[in-house]
């Protein structure tokens, strides 16, 4: 079976600094894959290489078996690759509904039409409402995003991404900055993600990682140092030495 997402010997350097080296990743459809590693391991760079925000110096990125290494970010999105951001990237003056509608309109090709009223795209609005209901954001649909509590804003971040109906979803520290009282909202949303999506999650919170992931890749200094099931990773002495040992519950 072709992998939903695959990287082959991906590499990137800034001058003499190798921030990504020889990274081979493979996610099947429906995968729940976590990417962990100490600060500065190159996790965000790797995400940027996969999404196309950066272009690699070597290696390939494959989506559903197709080489997308040369495609710009927006084209990869069209091929089913979506991501959330570590720091919220929202349209904070617009309502939650409009944030999601922008994304959906883009996917269904309505956003290229400059003559049709936005309010006439009822299929876009209906889909947005349905998506918000699924994420339990419907009560906030008409509220400007900046007035939402932070945890809900993180949820909007995920909602925008799901508006793309991705086959591969990259979650970049989805719970970052969310107060612990609200973190269950994010956990519930992640648990409820459609099953067939391949999910790659970057997370520092080991609780979330071990609860969510069926497979873990450990990154250090730009390269993969271990891969395996959560049990294997938890028992890997090398990983413990460079990473888990550093600070217990990081």
């Amino acid at each position: 079976m072709t992998a939903a997402l695959q990287t082959i010997a991906l590499g990137k350097h800034f001058g003499a600094l190798h921030v990504t080296r020889q990274v081979n990743l493979s996610l099947a459809a429906g995968a729940r894959h976590a990417l962990i590693g100490p600060n500065g391991a190159g996790k965000t760079t790797l995400i940027n290489l996969i999404t196309g925000a950066l272009s690699p110096d070597e290696g390939q990125v494959l989506l559903g078996g197709r080489d997308v290494t040369a495609l710009p970010q927006a084209r990869r999105v069209k091929q089913g690759l979506a991501r959330t951001y570590q720091i919220n990237q929202l349209f904070s003056d617009l309502s939650v509904l409009e944030n999601v509608a922008i994304s959906i309109a883009e996917r269904v090709g309505a956003a290229g039409n400059f003559w049709r009223r936005a309010s006439a795209n009822s299929h876009v609005i209906d889909e947005a409402v349905e998506l918000l209901a699924r994420l339990k954001l419907d009560a906030y649909a008409l509220t400007p995003v900046r007035e939402l509590p932070y945890g809900r804003q993180r949820l909007v971040e995920i909602a925008i991404t799901l508006g793309q109906k991705p086959t591969v979803l990259l979650l970049d520290e989805p719970a970052a900055g969310v107060p612990s009282a609200e973190s269950h909202i994010i956990l519930d949303a992640i648990a409820a993600l459609p099953e067939q999506i391949a999910v790659l999650i970057i997370e520092h919170d080991m609780d979330i990682v071990f609860r969510f992931a069926k497979f873990i890749t450990v990154l250090a200094s730009g390269g993969i140092i271990a891969q395996g099931t959560p049990e294997q990773i938890a028992g890997d002495a090398h990983v413990r030495a460079v990473y888990l040992g550093q600070g217990g519950d990081v």
């Binding site: 999404t51 925000a53 710009p72 970010q73 927006a74 084209r75 999105v77 069209k78 979506a82 991501r83 951001y85 990237q89 929202l90 349209f91 904070s92 003056d93 617009l94 309502s95 509904l97 409009e98 509608a101 922008i102 994304s103 309109a105 883009e106 996917r107 309505a110 956003a111 290229g112 039409n113 400059f114 003559w115 049709r116 009223r117 936005a118 309010s119 795209n121 009822s122 876009v124 609005i125 209906d126 947005a128 409402v129 349905e130 918000l132 209901a133 419907d138 649909a141 008409l142 925008i160 991404t161 508006g163 793309q164």
Partner: protein, 336 residues
């Protein structure tokens, strides 16, 4: 089943909300009432009125790219000027003076130039884009200066002769015909602009202005989208230029000047960007003040507009209309 019902209710509310965003407000009738009233009340000022209407169209075109898509340009006169020369040369060299089609031709020339230059320039940002737009407009002006045979160079393009509008309304000394013509063109341009900004396309421009990285992330072809709105804006600027050429029957290099690019920017910022009506208020206030004050003392006018600009940038960044909104919001907040 209650969930489904809720869902249906949510959808209806969401549609009402989205429709509310683009609903007409009674105050939107005001500028048109004023424009029609001015026709009867100030019959001696219709020539100035025509120039104001043309300036509003031009400022409106700038609002599309600056106010909605966040494209900063110091060279928007390039498209106004291209339209003016396009319309003017059609009459002066090919003898075609039918006003509506000649003006549309001006819009076409502006649009084509906007598409070509936008395709190249809109890959750049910030100071580089500022410099590129500035240099493009001035290069065009120098090109027009050099192509004397076609443009009349420094002396201006003469020999523009425009036929009666719709075959029956002659050009008149008081400018009645062109005032009405310009008002109708403005109305159509405004309706188009309003339609554009309230489309999903318009929303995506606001998204690009607000957070371009995220728009890449939802698969928006950002460059293409910007080129599209730039082309629409340039075409509208070209229409304004075409009208300008027809109403004056004369075109000089001034239509391409940096001063014109700067003035339209100032008008729009004075009125308020990203709200369509800012173009109306800004252009009207600017041109009426100029007409009144420059008569008294050109230096006084120039100093005044400079000072006003500084004050607006420092204290009233949202322009006249935006500040009015803020004031209203504050007084309502205080009352509650």
């Amino acid at each position: 089943m209650t969930e489904l019902l809720d869902n249906g209710g949510g959808s209806a509310a969401a549609r009402r909300f989205m429709a509310g965003r683009e609903a007409w407000h009674w105050a939107e009738a005001l500028p048109w009432v004023v424009a029609v009233a001015a026709f009867f009340v100030f019959p001696d000022y219709l020539a100035l009125g025509t120039q104001i209407l043309i300036a509003i169209i031009f400022a409106l075109s700038l609002d599309l790219i600056l106010g909605y898509a966040g494209i900063i340009t110091l060279g928007h006169a390039a498209y106004f000027g291209a339209g003016a020369y396009g319309t003017g040369m059609l009459s002066a060299h090919l003898g075609w003076g039918e006003p509506i089609s000649a003006m549309l031709f001006g819009g076409f020339v502006g649009g084509v130039l906007g598409f070509v230059s936008g395709w190249v320039l809109l890959r750049y940002h910030g100071l580089t884009l500022l410099m590129l737009t500035l240099a493009t407009a001035i290069m065009l002006k120098e090109g027009a200066n050099a192509a004397e045979e076609w443009t009349g160079g420094f002396d201006g393009l003469v020999g523009i002769s425009i036929w009666p509008l719709l075959g029956s309304f002659e050009y008149d000394l008081w400018g009645k015909t062109y005032y009405c013509f310009a008002l109708v063109v403005l109305l159509l341009c405004f309706l188009a602009a309003r339609r554009i900004v309230h489309s999903a396309f318009g929303r995506s421009l606001v998204g690009i202005k607000g957070n371009v990285g995220r728009m890449h992330g939802v698969g928006t072809p950002v460059h293409g989208r910007l080129v599209a709105v730039y082309t629409l804006s340039a075409a509208m600027a070209g229409l304004a230029g075409g009208l300008f050429a027809e109403s004056n029957a004369y075109v000089t290099l001034d239509v391409l000047s940096f001063a014109r690019s700067g003035t339209v920017l100032i008008m729009l910022v004075l009125g308020g960007t990203g709200r369509l009506y800012g173009a109306f208020v800004g252009a009207a206030v600017y041109m009426i003040l100029e007409d009144e004050l420059a008569k008294l003392s050109p230096e006084f006018w120039e100093f005044g507009i400079g000072l006003l600009l500084v004050i607006v940038v420092l204290f009233f960044r949202r322009g006249l209309l935006g500040s009015l909104d803020d004031l209203r919001a504050r007084s309502m907040g205080g009352g509650a």
